[in-house]
Amino acid sequence: MDTVIGIDLGTSTTEAAVLRDGKPVMVINFDGKVTTPSVVGMDDTGNMVVGEKAEGQLLLAPDRTVKEAKRLMGTDRKLPMGTRQYSPVEISSMILTYVRNYAGKFLGEDVDRAVISVPAYFDEIQRQATVEAGKKAGFTVERILNEPTAAALSYGISHMEEESNILVYDLGGGTFDVTLLEMFGGVLEVRASSGDNRLGGKDFDEKLTEYLAGRFKEKHGISLEGDIYAMARLHQAAVECKKMLSTQEEYRVLLPVIAEKEGVPVELDETVTRECFEGLIEELIERTHEPIDVVLEDSNMAAEELDMVLLVGGSTRIPFVQRDIADYLGKEPSFAVDPDYAVAQGAAIQAGIINGMIDSEEGIMMTDVNPYTLGIRTLNGYTADYMSVIIPRNVTIPVTKKQTYYTSWDGQTAADIEVYQGESRSVENNHRIGMFNISGIPSGPAGKEQLEVAFSYNQNGMLNVTATILSTKEEASIAIDMMQTGMEERVDVSGWKEAGLAEDYRTVIRRAEKWLKKHEGEEEAEEDYRELEELVYQLKRAIIDGDDLEAEELEEDIRSMI
């Protein structure tokens, strides 16, 4: 049977597991460990290193090392490493390649199929980016699984007989997820998911680092902000301090030579109490309450009806976090699963369900929900950007829903169906995931013709949208495959000057870049700015590819703009 590996690609750490004899087994990496730091670096000989080695050079070479790339997944932010810029997808794919390699060694066979977990609250773009990273690492990504669901699976597999309502509270390095599940007859049914994909241990680290830097400045009048080496050390000390405060009441941060004043070394010596730390993160912890309310509300459940609150993620080790949950829900949380391994184990279980290792009649199974609302843009009488909901969030998938619409003005013969994802009542604040046009509507007075729009969304992330003109039965449709990445990967073009064609285009690029510099940040020029920036990128790319024809055309376009 083909092995499918389950991978928890975390913000700070990555773990992998496979199913053996119906049980998840953690995969050991080259360092003999289960946990691999999600860090990538370039060593001084120009080789890529991943995991512990990369983490080890964070202090010495922060400019050649990248961490926490997951937080940027789905954005077009670039991460500098050495001489080049990398996309978050590229960094993630290096981590996944590393996993693939060590798993191959550990298992004695090449693994090329994977289930990768993501925060439940990742949106489609972030999921697509994750699939892309998996593909780049040579995996066939069989499924993107929500992390809290994975954690619940790892609990469920050894509690098949239970009938319970479980709330999974996952506070990791970069994201917060909360999911409510019902376990019944060996089936795990996700009732609702919510979260905040910009909240986690990383934010606590930053708060504490800021605090320490602030105290240092107060005492010595020296700002550490600009010094990336000092900041890297301070950051590391803050992480250490945070972790220690989970088990002890206070911790002394001591960094002997963090800066210099008139040639004399200055040390940072600061004792942080648990209370002080709690004060720093209080506001952040408060942000977990709203998502909890949302899942309770969406699953029509009161806090008293919960049978268990499962804690997952490294940050749930913080006593304050545990206390806050207990207070807020009126229920003591449970530590029934391993907070570090549960997600990877659950991913492996899902992998086993997919490749048939887990019997579908006897073994555990699950159903999931869609975490975001799906709908289309409509005119509602007041605005033209009203989000008309077709599939509400947190309904069990697969699901098909329809809605009937009317023509909005006399003689309307065509309609744009714009598909959006998001929670706002105005589509402007939501995310457009696709669009198509249906024409051939018989001309008539407004409101006469009806258009039926059907959405069908399945667990593989496929959304089919069909619009039908009811009077003629004419149809138009679009398939939005959330697993099919449409994103074009940006390549690094910084080396264009070395390419053969460079000489011919040097002047135009210089002029264009001058223009960009001059108009940077100007509001009126924003659109032109973006367009020109893109053109310059395309031109450099054409130069590198040696595509003279394309380059010539681009040059013309650029000249017309500056």
Partner: protein, 470 residues
């Protein structure tokens, strides 16, 4: 076609546990992976059977024409109604009645659509027919009572409400309308009893799903309570307890909370219980839930309180007319950024000038206001202070204001000052404007008076339209 129970392979009327067991068993065989079509069918049946039926009250058996065409028309009616197109829904119902006669379900739809379209008289007719034809079905009697009430037949409505209530009908919307009707017919005590029966019919478990009904009930109680001696404190206490216990679910009911809050504050004032500790606790809860809105609500409540006092004051024979309209003009300027060139400013000047000229004749007014109209006195503090300043200061103020006033009076009408004190009106030609300022006073077209139709074409009076926005 199979019904939901058949889809799940269980007997009609099976209980929740059986439904659940059947569902979880079936989806093992027809899992999302193996048979997504079948899975969805099972899932939909399961959801329908377990969903909390908020509109349970309407689910009664009705005679329905069996023709397939009638079925499809009914479907269409429901769709139109849900899409908010009541007009066409009603047309379709009437068309259907033309084909199939006044079948029960069609009459019921007709009543519903009439009500939604605002045709209350016709709605009464529909429900009268239904109530007469099906005397056992309380639903229709209840609807009829509500239809009377909405039509404005309050006396008839009250009798109908009492009868149906006596027969045991407890639909939430019915109870709320009943209690409102009690308010109009001057039997607040009865209204309170009705709302209490609504409150107590909602247990802890269904609380969350019935939040809207509960909030409506408390708003109703808060409205009626000042009219029953000794009742307000009790209602405030209950309301507080309710809000405390439902904090977590309240966020989505911003609008209802607002009106509850304002009602409570107004009622507290009416019975002189503004310092009641439950009222303060309620205030705190609402401020906690909406930190931003809290202040706004407080402001809105203060404004309302002021409005009420001003209305009472306008009826008060002891107060001079001058004071009445002055305060009205000043009230327009509260908490607004007043444009030094605008109409409100002009009217404010107008009032101040008249007051300053007449002082101290109004001393008696101020005394009464201080004693009896606390909120008004609070809000216009600066005004009283201004009046009571020294004679010399008053004279200087008058001088200054007169210049401003003269300028503005070229632009606006409706001031009292020159009417009351004709000798104060300057010879306009003689006033020397400085050239720069002069430019801003070009009058285009007719002056707009306070009570003229607004030039923006809204059809409202100027004072109620752009003058406010301006």
């Amino acid at each position: 076609m199979k019904n939901d129970y058949q889809i799940l392979g269980i007997e009609e009327g099976a209980d929740e546990k059986e439904i659940k067991r059947a569902y979880f068993k079936l989806i093992r065989t027809y899992s999302p992976e193996k048979d997504p079509e079948r899975f969805q069918e099972i899932r939909a049946a399961y959801e329908r059977l377990t969903e909390v039926k908020e509109d349970d009250w309407y689910r009664i058996e009705m005679e329905t024409p069996t023709e397939p065409f009638a079925q499809s028309m009914l479907q269409q009616i429901a769709e139109l109604r849900e899409a908010g197109d009541y007009r066409r829904a009603l047309q379709t119902v009437e068309e259907a009645i033309g084909y199939f006669g006044e079948a029960e379900v069609l009459l019921f739809e007709q009543g519903r659509c009439c009500k939604l379209e605002g045709k209350t008289g016709k709605a009464v007719k529909c429900y009268e027919k239904l109530a007469a034809r099906y005397p056992d079905k309380l639903l229709y009697k209840g609807y009829l009572a509500k239809a009377y009430y909405e039509r404005g037949y309050e006396k008839k409505a009250l009798a109908a409400f009492r009868e149906v209530y006596g027969l045991g009908w407890r639909e939430p919307d019915f109870l709320i309308c009943y209690s409102q009707c009690c308010g109009y017919r001057d039997c607040p005590e009865e209204g309170l009893t009705v709302l209490e029966s609504l409150e107590s019919s909602i247990d802890e478990k269904s609380k969350k799903k019935r939040m809207m009904d509960l909030l409506q009930a408390y708003i109703g109680m808060a409205t009626l309570s000042p009219r029953v001696p000794g009742k307000f404190a009790e209602v405030a206490g209950r309301c507080r307890k309710f809000l405390e216990g439902s904090r977590r679910y309240l966020k989505e009911y911003e609008f209802e909370l607002q009106s509850l809050f304002v009602t409570i504050l107004m009622s507290a004032d009416a019975v002189g219980e503004s310092k009641n500790k439950d009222v303060s606790a309620i205030k705190k809860i609402i401020f906690d839930i909406y930190p931003e809105v809290g202040e706004m609500l407080q402001g809105a409540a203060d404004m309302l309180r002021l409005q009420v006092e001003l209305e009472d004051l306008a009826e008060d024979g002891r107060i001079s007319d001058l004071m009445k309209w002055s305060l009205e003009a000043l009230a327009e300027t509260i908490e607004k950024d007043i444009d030094k060139d605008g109409y409100e400013y002009f009217m404010e000047m107008d009032a101040l000038l008249c007051q300053l000229e007449e002082w101290p004749k109004q001393k008696g007014d101020v005394e009464i206001i201080r004693e009896e109209y606390g909120e008004v006195y609070e809000v216009f503090r600066d005004f009283w202070r201004l009046l009571q300043s020294g004679a010399e200061q008053r004279r200087m103020m008058k001088e200054e204001m007169r210049i401003e006033y003269a300028k503005l009076s070229r632009k606006y009408e409706g001031g009292h000052y020159y009417e009351m004190f004709p000798d104060k009106q300057p010879d306009l030609e003689a006033v020397k404007w400085d050239s720069q300022e002069n430019g801003t006073f070009v009058r285009d077209g007719k002056k707009v008076g306070r009570n003229d139709p607004c030039p923006c074409g809204s059809g409202k009076k100027y004072k109620n339209c752009c003058m406010r926005k301006g």
